[in-house]
Each structure stands twice: as C-alpha cells, then as structure tokens.
Amino acid sequence: MNKEFRLPDVGEGLTEADIVSWHVKPGDTVTINQVLVEIETAKAVVELPSPYAGTVTALLVEEGQTVDVGTPIITVDVPSQEGAAPEAPAPATPAETEPEPAQSAEPLKQERQPVLVGYGVKPGSTSRRARKKPPTRPGSYPATPSGPLSGGGPALSGPFIGGVGLPPGVPVPPQARTSPRALAKPPVRRLARDLGVDLGEVPGSGPEGSVTRQDVERAASEARDRSISPDEAPAAEPDAVANLSQRGPAALEERIAVRGVRKHTAAAMVASAFTAPHVTEFLQVDVTETMAAVRRARELPEFDGVRVSPLLFVAKALLVAVRRHPLVNSSWDEAAQEIVVKRPVNLGIAVAAERGLLVPNVKGADALPLADLARSIDAVAATARAGKATPADLAGGTITITNVGVFGVDAGTPILMPGEAAILAFGQVRDLPWVVDGELAVRKVTTLSLSFDHRIVDGELGSAVLRDVGSMLEDPVRMLAWS
C-alpha cells in the first residue's frame, strides 16, 4: 500500500520548513526510523525519520523548496501487513520538540492532538446512534408495603439510642398501614384535590397502576348524572360537534359525539355543580350613570383603541367588591379541609368560542389600571375566540364574570367555575320604567345574578358583594371612593 508522509510540525507552531537534502531516492528500501530527509526550520536543521518500512515510490518535493507543514513530501510503498502504523513521522532523536499530529490516510478521520499527559481531545459525535427501543423507566417501589420492617432486631423492641430509651409507658407505634396508598404523579394529585376527587377511589390506568390525569377527569365527570341547564351553558351551537351520526334516512334521533372542549366543559361543570352547594341571588340595578361613564371614558385618550363596554365597568366593580370582601375570592380545599383565600384576583371572562364555552382569565386583574384591564380583557377574549388560548390562560382563575345579556336575557343561575367561590352574571341593559326621586323615569336597567359556594360564602356575605357591585354601577363615583 502506498503511504504518504506529510511534513510534520517539528517545533511549536512552525508553519513551514525548507527541504535541505534528501537522504533517499525512489526505489530505495527504507526501514522504520531511517532518516529520509533533512529539513531546516526557523530554529534548527532537523532530520526526519521514516515511520514506515518499505520502498520509496516518489519524492514529492525538491531540495531547496519551502514547504508548508502538512504537505505530502514522500510516498513509500509499504507491504501490507497487520499492525501497520498510521501515517506519522517517528523521530529517533531525543529531545524532540512538539510532536506532529497523527495524520490519517482516510480524510474523514479526526486528528487528536496529544497533550502533556495523554492522547488529547477526542472530538465528540454530532449525530445520534440509532436505538432499538424507547428508554425504560428505572424500577420503582411496589404500592403494597414490604414485609417486616428492615433493620436490626434491637431497634424494634424499644430503641436505646444514646441514653434516650423510650420513656416507660410510651408505646411503640403499631406496624405500618396495610392499605396501599394510591400512586399518582404530583400534578395529578393536585388536580384530584382541585376537582375534589378521592384518589383512593379511582382505578389507575397509568404505569405501575398509577392514577392518570384522564382517570381523575373521568372520575370527576362520572361522579354524577345530572344534566346541565341550557341557559348556563352558552356553548356555541353545533359548531362544537365533531361527528354527526344518523341512522337511516328518517332518523328519530340525532347523536352528537361529546368531544373536545364540550367534553371538558361538561366534566368541569358537573364537578362544580355537584360538589359545591350553589346559591344565586339577584339584583336589578339602574346603570344609567354607568352607561354615561362608558361613553365619557371612550372619549378619553387613555382608552384610545381600547374597547370600553359595560362589561369593563362591571368587572371593575366586582374587583373593588372583592377587595372589600376578600373571602369571596377563594377556593374550598376538601382534602385539607381548608378555605384557601387567594391573594391576586385572576378574573375569568366567559367567552363563546367556536369550540365551545371557554373561560380564560386575566391574571392579577385587581392590580391593573382601568385601561390595562380593558386591554387585558380584550386580549384574553380575542385569544380564546381565535382558538389560541393556552392551558395557562384557562387555568388559575379565582372569580368569574359572564355576560348573558348578549344572548338577550336578563338573568340566570350561573354555575361556579371549579375551584372558585363566586360567579357574577349580568344581563342585557334595557330601558325600563324606574322611580327616581319619587317620580317615574325611563332608566337603563340591568339584572345582576351572583352565584356563590355556600360552604364558603353565607347569605350575608353574598348579598353584601352583590349590593356593593350594584351600588358602584348605580353611581360609578363609588368605585373611586372604595378603591
């Protein structure tokens, strides 16, 4: 096999050398370490020994020529044998300077530059080796308790630890519980708690018999069989339907598959409706002043390009009412047997999107100035309508408002969002006869409907919140006074 020998770097970072004199010619037999040529570098004249044993086939450069490091200078025909060394010079002289990197006949082989203490850096691969099968999960512990407690005998019959024996009469507690706990990933445990589902009652379809998110959601929806009242489920019409199945040409019934948003909404509603005791209170409110305020606000530069609607004022009123009555912005934690009062108000806005009813929420709505609140409400509603709401948008709400007026009705009994304590619906704004200062007048009137979780909110509190919202809408200046 014809092997090439390239000019090595015989000293630190030298880039070229002059060929002084060849000691061999084509046809000569050479042995390993035999001197092939003298070269002159900036530092010294150096003899280059042959790394090969074989026959010289060609001298590739001439005496007197200046040659760059790495240039092939000679080829030697090496009789093929196993263990032939890769191309690199092998100087026999001691006190050798910087070694030449091993250069390969195969252009793809990477060079490895030796360092003081070893071979040097090996380039890593940049592509992945094919795998046969997906990774396996490391072994986990079985749900059932292992046998007797492990550990030494003496410990069980009353510990003697550094003089602290158990005081007489203090019983050693009984053996560990025998009923296995449910297995579930931490986020699933949280979901179960939020939905009020007892993990222990749910069959697990996940790895190692663990309970999955789907298992919990299914359990929440299967818990009851009450149907949902149509007013309060202003889901979009048949748009949410995925499939239409008909039996025969004159079908007596139409079956619509329950999928997607509708399915989850239904499950959530059922979970909410049949765990939290709902009470709804109503209040008719003269909102003439609010409507005037809406018109005036529209003209302010702060609201340029921002939609100002009665919804905005109702939202603001509710936020102020929440500040006055924080308990209404809370959640019932069944597992911990605690009411969790939430600090920020993440205001949910019910939106009729193509897929169905969505309730994205404005995070920290209570801290927003009015114009920003307007913008945020618009933004979340628009995103949801466009079908681009993220799980983060839809989760974490603490209280909700819903505008049923757009459907041309006055009032309803809204169902709480799961995990919330109150929901405020408001109906259409109508011109109605009203008594003002003892005289009949035509005023703009709407009805507020507040549903609340009676475990958390009693009648007095619910009424107070409703009254406060009503008062602020009657006279928006109260919103300023109470902020």
């Binding site: 890769p86 300077t97 003081l116």
Partner: protein, 356 residues
C-alpha cells in the same frame, strides 16, 4: 561545604576507586551494559510509538539508564521498590514485562502488574506520594522482624518540594525505618530547574532530618550500584534510612508532548551528551578487553528484536471491554454500583448496531 559526588567510572570510561565504596570483582558490568542498552532501546521505541499515536504519552528515561540499572541491580530479590512513573529501568531489573508498562501509557489500564510478585509497586503519578507508602512498608518490615529486607523508593528533584516527601523523611528517621530514598536529580521538573526546588544540594536535606545523605554521579552505573548497595545494607542492618541523590540529566522531554527547547539550551544538552552513561561503559569494556565487537553487536541485535516485539505486542493490545469499567472498585458488595452496571449494560444493549 564542598559537594562530594561519588564516582567510580569517569565519563571517559576510566575506573576510579572510592575507599567507602569498594567494588568487588563479582560486579556484572557487561550485564549492566546490556541492561542499559536494552532499556534505552525500549525507551526509544516507546517514544516512536507515541509519535505514531499508539501511546497517549511516554515519560522517557533517556540519560538516566545508569541511575536506574545501577540501583535496580543493587536490590536483593526480597527488597521492595516504590517507583514514581519514569523508572522503566528499575521495572526491567525487577522482571516486569515492558509491555505492562506500555499498557499504562497506552491507556488500556493504569498499571496492573502484581506488586508483590515483582517486589515493584505500581507507578505513582501523584508526585511524592509513594515515599510515604515506602516508609509505611518499611515500618511493616520492622514489625515482621524481617532483617533481610529493605525498601527503596524513587522520586525526582521536583518531588523533594512536596510535603509528603518531607513527612516521609521525618517518619523514616524517627522510626528508624529500613528505607532508601533514591532521588534522581535529572535537573528538571518539567521546565523548572532544580534550583527552583532548593537552595541546598538535595542530598544535604536528610541531615536536617537526622539521617545520612550522599550524592552520586547518576550517569555512573558502578557508583549508583555501589552506593545503593551500601545504603540497602545499612537499612537491613537497622541503621535506618539513607538519601541518595543521583546527579543525572533528563536528556529527553518530561513527557512526549513537552518541548524542552523552550526552557533549556542545546549547548547544555550537548555537554551532558559527553557524559553519556552507556558510552562510558562501552569504552571501559572495549578498552580493557572485557568485551568485543561481537558482544556489542549481539546486544544491539537483541535490542532491536526486543523493540520489534514490543511494537507488535503494543499494537495488539485490546481496549478494555466496557463493562470491565465496573470491576475491582470494591472487594465487597455495592448495590448502587451493581445497579449502575446493569443500567449501563442495558443501555449499551439498546443500540440498533454495535459501535464501530
């Protein structure tokens, strides 16, 4: 205070006598010559192998053959040696197959000969650590009451600055341990000249610790032999430790990627070339009719054959199999390590094709 350097053979190959170190007629000088030539040839071949990418690195002993063969031949079969990482000449004297040393520098293992079988401990790469091991071993010899055994430990001039070496000197002296401290002062610790390690000649350090020190011409195999032999005798006879400073020169680089032209002059190298350890023995043997050209040719041939055999053996060394990584960490059980091994085995098994 003058520095006396013990010398029994001049650079020109002439014998000189020293009253404290008589050399008997039984000294195998031809054997020493052969050993030095073979060991140099191994060294040269190893450097070539490194240049060809077959070894990760090599620590050449070029120029230090006399110090190593001289002292190595002074050891009795029962003595124990604790080297650093350049004592391939002493390894040779102790019967360690040179391939075993090559394995370490090739990186197929970390030096795996059996220390007790050869009475030659594994190479210690951390500078100076082995001097404490040697001292402890010598203390073990004392407890065994083995009066015909001694210990020698090798280290360089650089190592004398390490705390462990001073601690070893202190302990060896207060416990009167039977250990010879053999310092090859080859003038450099990588690029640091020996006067960066000490203002005092190194052999004088032992007097501060209360035991004798002697400087010997490190390129004189006869002097190295005689002085080491005497020191070992003293140790075995309960006289405690000795420090021997073999004054020599590292003709090669620290390791194969080092560039000595950056820190020393070619003229210095040339001056030491005139004191070559092998040349002076060759001159002595030839001039005194103790060896003829046939002998020298035979030794050269033997050296070349040894080099070729070493090359072939080196190239044939297999890489360690992947799961062998987990062997020999502990004597007893370790469930954590077992789990790691099992996981890695499963991982390797999960590739669609074997690695190239």
């Amino acid at each position: 205070m003058t520095t006396e350097t013990i010398q029994l053979l001049t650079p020109e190959g002439e014998r000189v006598d020293h009253p404290e170190y008589p050399l008997g007629d039984d000294v195998d000088i031809k054997g020493m010559y052969r050993d030095m030539v073979l060991v140099r040839r191994i060294d040269t071949e190893a450097v070539a192998l490194q240049r060809q990418g077959e070894l990760g690195l090599w620590a050449p002993l070029l120029g230090q053959e006399a110090a190593q063969i001289g002292s190595g031949r002074a050891l009795s079969a029962k003595d124990m040696a604790f080297p650093s990482y350049r004592e391939h000449g002493v390894a040779w004297c102790r019967g360690v197959d040179p391939v075993k040393v090559i394995e370490l520098f090739r990186g197929v293992n970390q030096g795996a000969w059996d220390p007790e079988e050869h009475k030659f401990h594994l190479y210690t790469i951390v500078i100076g650590d082995q001097t404490l091991h040697a001292t402890g071993y010598a203390m073990g010899i004392q407890r065994d009451g083995a009066e015909d055994e001694a210990v020698i430990t090798y280290f360089g001039d650089g190592a004398t600055s390490q705390g462990d070496v001073s601690e070893a000197f202190a302990w060896a002296s207060v416990f009167n341990a039977p250990v010879v401290f053999f310092c090859q002062n080859n003038q450099f610790a990588i690029s640091a000249p020996s006067d960066r390690q000490s203002r005092n000649p190194l052999y004088r350090r032992s007097s501060g610790f209360g035991f004798p020190g002697v400087r010997v011409d490190g390129n004189d195999v006869l002097a190295c032999y005689a002085v080491t032999r005497q020191a070992l005798r003293n140790a075995r006879e309960g006289q405690g430790p000795t420090l021997i400073e073999a004054f020599t020169y590292r003709m090669g680089a620290h390791t194969t990627t080092d560039d000595p032209t950056r820190y020393r002059l070619a003229s210095e190298l040339e001056a030491w070339r005139l004191r070559d350890p092998i040349e002076r023995v060759r001159s002595y043997l030839a001039r005194n009719g103790l060896a003829d050209s046939t002998f020298f040719a035979q030794v050269q041939t033997e050296a070349d054959e040894l080099a070729a055999k070493l090359r072939a053996a080196c190239l044939a060394l297999p890489d360690p199999p992947p799961l062998a990584l987990f062997d020999h960490v502990y004597a007893g059980e370790n469930a954590i390590l077992d789990a790691e091994r099992a996981q890695y085995a499963a991982y390797l098994e999960g590739f669609a094709e074997a690695a190239r």
